[in-house]
Amino acid sequence: MNSAKKIINNPNACADELLEGLVLAYDGKARKVGKRSIVMNDLRPDAPALLVGGGAGHEPIYHGLVGKNMADGAACGDIFAAPPPDIVLEATQAVNRGKGVLYLYGNYAGDVLNFDIGAELAADEGIEVRTVLIHDDVASAPAAEKHKRRGVAGLVPITKLAGAAAASVDSLDELERITRKAVANTRSVGVSTKPGSIPATGAPTFELADDVIGLGMGIHGEKGVGLIPMCTADELAPKMLDLLFGDDLELNAGDEIVFFVNSLGSTHMMELLILLRSARPILEKRGLKIHHTMVGDIVTCQEMAGVSFSITKLDDELKRLWDMPCSSVGYTKL
């Protein structure tokens, strides 16, 4: 059972080639750096830098979140593989403007290992590096063990906020503080209905019966909280929201939030909109004020089917940052 029928060239060169394409999609606003990094041109002088990154194959994240009031650069790994330390280093050097670099990426073993080595190499070059890990997936570990949680779709609102901060503040301390708050205020939960495939082989990334949904599954098929029978949007939305509400992020009546409905790839926007229709009344019934709704396929895994919900709670500071326009291949907001 192989669902892949891919329009690619050399199956082992996908990451390199997509990055070249991505740079072209920026129409001169970003450039390729070193082996496999992408960095914005015209960076604000004397400012702390925001660097994101991760494995390829999940486009438009991570490298597609480089942009105006978004990330300054990204270190791009091979398909589903964290970027090696030397790529992290080349990206770090390219984004640094003397005020240090904040690494912001999803909490995966490979990413932590490679970014950490990259940070050590950067320290050898005299560049100050801080790291903020994204661990928004409530289904991947209990709230008490956040360090074990994966980073999933919440990285988009988090990067948007961090990017706005990077464009506004003057110190790495401030950038780190705000970014940590964005992470602390963001929770996600995903479900999967069909696997994606590995471009190099065409093999599915996991197996899932036709009549079940993987509740809480990660974007590579990591298991979540269990399998549930295939169900309707109206049945699924409360199950997903219960997992979010059951977590340790306080969400009280009157709180303002960003709500993000994300497709993991081939789940169609029709379905996202129907799910949004199912979810919104539940959010509103809790008294939450939806400051902004995001709908799209931004955190994906090839042609994987499934969706995720993310909630980011905004305080006044985050709201001001949220309302800044931003532009990137992956997410643009007026």
Partner: protein, 210 residues
């Protein structure tokens, strides 16, 4: 003819055989990772070993460099958890052989011990976490035990320990890496990185004994 010690050139030949065996084992290694992780371990190891072959084609100054260049090539070409982990293993292990111009059973033990220590320091995993450490750690214990035996005998014993460790990983519950949330569902499959370790030490033993 079994080799009692290896020269730098022979170490390079051995590492080339290791590379070929890993490349050959790609589908098996990927499949192992698909059961527990994201299914790309074989592809990453293959990419790394191709880079190793390219790097070693230029030769290496000494035994230390042959191993540490192997690590550098893996680390900078693979990415992913195993790029950092296996890269660290060869680099740190190789450093313990600084100044040596022959590779023997003692060298094998220090290579593995040095590599293992650095891998554990780097990644924070311990024996029993269902990682490549579960093949590497028993291999390291065995290598210390047989360090005074002949290189072929030592290499064979180490390979066997790695294979046993790989098999023992089947019964473990994964907590690290992409598989970290599989929990009990990970029982029954060996860890992908442990499979690589077994392939690596088997290839080394085969080269040494041939």
């Amino acid at each position: 003819m079994p080799k009692s010690t290896l020269s730098t050139a022979e170490v390079i030949e051995m590492l080339n055989l290791v590379a070929d065996r890993i490349i050959e084992a790609e589908p098996m290694l990927s499949e192992a990772d698909r059961n527990l992780g994201d299914g790309d371990h074989g592809l990453g190891m293959k990419r790394g070993m191709e880079a190793v072959k390219e790097k070693l084609a230029a030769g290496a100054e000494n035994i230390e460099k042959a191993f540490s260049n192997t690590g550098m090539a893996m680390m900078s070409s693979m990415g992913g958890a195993s790029g950092a982990i296996f890269g660290t293993f060869w680099r740190a292990g190789g450093k313990t052989l600084a100044g040596k111009d022959q590779f023997d059973a003692e060298g094998l033990a220090s290579l593995i011990k040095g590599g293992l220590d650095s891998v554990m320091a780097r990644g924070g995993a311990k024996p029993g976490d269902k990682t490549m450490i579960d093949a590497l750690h028993p291999a390291s214990l065995k290598a210390a035990e047989v360090a005074s035996q002949s290189l072929p005998d030592a290499a064979q014993a180490v390979a066997q320990a790695a294979v046993d460790g790989r098999d023992a990983s089947k019964a473990m519950i994964a907590t690290m890496g992409r598989a970290k949330t599989l929990g009990e569902q990970s029982i029954g499959h060996p860890d992908a990185g442990a499979c690589s370790v077994a392939v690596i030490f088997q290839a080394m033993s085969d080269y040494i004994s041939a």
